[in-house]
Symmetry: C2
Subunit: 188 residues, 2 copies
DNA sequence: CTCTTTGATGTCAGTGACTGTCATCGACCC
DNA sequence: GGGTCGATGACAGTCACTGACATCAAAGAG
């Protein structure tokens, strides 16, 4: 055994979500999170850039998956169809994490600072998707607009999945949102 | 003349934009802004909730104008067409403020915290537009998706207007972005 | 015209997020 | 066995932001 317990980073993330959920984000100090994880405040900031980031550590993986799926769509697929590939892949990955996703989502929506952080993560995702589309030959501003649309569709699908009374298939909900979106854009 | 110089709020906003622009947002302290405006730090926080908000004081007016225009579109206009009314109105209002808009935009894009704040303002705009569409009889999730799309179109049009080498008509650029958007959604 | 009230500001002390710096000490390498 | 490395602790410091109270010109009440 090492000098310290392993998985400091994970322990911090777990402690943070618990405390934010129990007593609210603003009512939790970083010192308290660190203490629950058996560490000091200084160490928290060595693992996470700030008090919010501890909730968004996984967003990079999600973005990578989304981008990879869009990049791997058939070459001749239109922008919106390539994005649909990514939406499917992302929808699948959430399947067994609904309880965690609900807790995390409740914490985030309850606080304006955390909503801000979530929005910039989604903006980063949108930018990465636009970049992927450009590599596929889509020109601007079509690439950026399509990417923003895909993120909006994802958000709607995710929220419906989170809020559904009984467990439903997220992939299906995201597909429904995409269909609705196409109708709106067509003036339906 | 009163006990103090008038327009404290405006002086603070002006001083903040100058300092953020000259030396960067992070390198500027609130005390410095207050001093340049001839006030104290405490007074800054009486006028603006935090160091970022001083750059976003006008966003409420913009949102109100956008919403009012959409609400006033012909009753039988589809969601996307009603939103086009709002886009036109908003495009017009920027006409004589390009220099200011450019400086402000440069400051915001140079800093992550400020980009976060801008994103949440746009999310607020999107929510207000979705609400307006719902009042016009548009159902969910079409209302939210259409509102997000309109904001994306606005962002693209705005950026093109800001970045154009010579001064162009913002209304026209926003309309072009909307046309592009419709093509993308249709799979073009 | 005097008294009172009001509103914008100043002053000051305090909390908590975040950073820079140096010390500690088990693990690992040679 | 000695030296280096990496994760952590300890500690002092800056700055955003808040609460409480004091100040004083202006505006209104009488």
């Amino acid at each position: 055994m090492g000098r310290w317990e392993p998985n400091a980073r994970e322990r911090l993330a777990e402690a943070a979500l618990e405390l934010y959920s129990e007593r609210g984000y603003e009512q939790t100090t970083v010192a308290e999170i660190a203490k629950r994880a058996g560490l000091t405040e200084r160490t928290f900031f060595r693992h996470y850039a700030d008090k919010r980031e501890v909730l968004f550590a996984g967003s990079g993986d999600l973005q990578e998956l989304f981008v990879r799926s869009v990049a791997g769509a058939p070459e001749d697929a239109a922008a919106i169809d390539a994005l649909a590939f990514g939406l499917d892949a992302v929808g699948e990955v959430f399947a067994d994490r609904r309880a965690f996703a609900r807790t995390r989502h409740a914490v985030i929506t309850a606080n304006a600072e955390l909503r801000e952080r979530e929005l910039i993560k989604l903006a980063s995702l949108s930018a990465a998707l636009a970049d992927t589309l450009r590599r596929r030959g889509v020109t601007e501003p079509a690439a950026s607009l399509a990417a923003e649309a895909a993120v909006a569709v994802f958000k709607i699908g995710f929220e419906r999945w989170i809020e559904a009374a009984e467990e439903r298939d997220m992939v299906q909900l995201v597909r429904e949102a995409l269909t609705e979106f196409k109708a709106v854009a067509a003036g339906g």
